[in-house]
Amino acid sequence: MAELGNDGGAGEGGGGSGYRPVIHGVGLCLALALCWLLLSGYFQILLLSLGAVSILFCVWIAMRMDLIDHEGVPLHITWAVLRYLPWLLWEIVKANLDVAKRVIDPSLPISPSLFNAPVSQKTDLGQTIYANSITLTPGTVSVDLDPGVILVHALHEGAADGVLEGEMDKRVTKVEGLN
């Protein structure tokens, strides 16, 4: 398993000490096993062994595809993501109410805009979390991602200002946990 350690990945600043392929492989096995048990709910020997075979097969394919790294199995940020999630969910609720109000308002108070916003995450994983958080929040959609900038479409000025304020950007960078 040791040969899985590819150190050439672009922008993988998070590697360093926390990167151990064996642990990520085992982590993937455990996650898949949990998924299997929760989705099937049967505990007979035959079905459990079928599950074990499927899991090993999946992990083997993932190994061959070089997917078992801290991006494919992001164990190192699990706790940080769990702390970020409640804040994100609350933002989503607020944005939902706002967009719903604008959609049913007779005067349709929207002023769509397309603009660039700075991205402060260093890793691909962090940038993906940020872009997905923006898209998940109604009122803003991430359209394109270049190094250091994200192209965002916003439904109205308030949503655009929300992104430019950078609160979400800061929080996702904290999740990334490089500094």
Binding site: C35, L38, L39, G41, I92, V93, N96, V99, A100, V103, I104, L108, I110, S111, P112, S113, L114, F115, N116, A131, N132, S133, I134, T135, L136, T137, P138, G139, T140, V141, S142, V143, D144, L151, H153, L155
Partner: protein, 120 residues
């Protein structure tokens, strides 16, 4: 207790349905492709979220509840990914976003070719 849960669950289900309907209404009402992505987001987040939460309160078996939670988790990954892919494809195909009339006038003077320098 069961009655309270039932009432709460019905509120969540009705609330979720309302968001789905508002989302659909918004997709019909808004002016262009990009702005229509936003009400689509209503359906994906609050609509699906509240309905799943309401169903969660209705589910008696643990396994059913877990599956509903897993649907919610998977939606949190798939819906922004597909939304982003759709928007990006539109931009790559050269579709320009609609702008409020007064904003479009403001920008008409600085006639730059690139899509990426839209409204700032």
């Amino acid at each position: 207790m069961a009655v309270i849960l039932d009432i709460l669950s019905w509120f969540l289900l009705i609330g979720g349905s309302a968001f789905v309907i508002i989302g659909a209404f918004g997709m019909w009402r808004l002016p262009d492709f990009y702005s229509r992505l936003h009400p689509a987001g209503l359906t994906d987040t609050m609509g699906a979220g509240l309905i799943l939460l309401g169903l969660l309160l209705q589910s008696e078996a643990f396994m059913v509840g877990i599956k509903l939670l897993m649907i919610a988790v998977f939606l949190m990954f798939t819906s922004p990914t597909s939304g982003h892919a759709t928007a990006r494809a539109a931009l790559a195909a050269g579709l320009r976003p609609w702008q409020a009339p007064e904003e479009a006038k403001k920008l008409a003077d600085e006639n730059d070719g690139g899509n990426k320098d839209g409204a700032a």
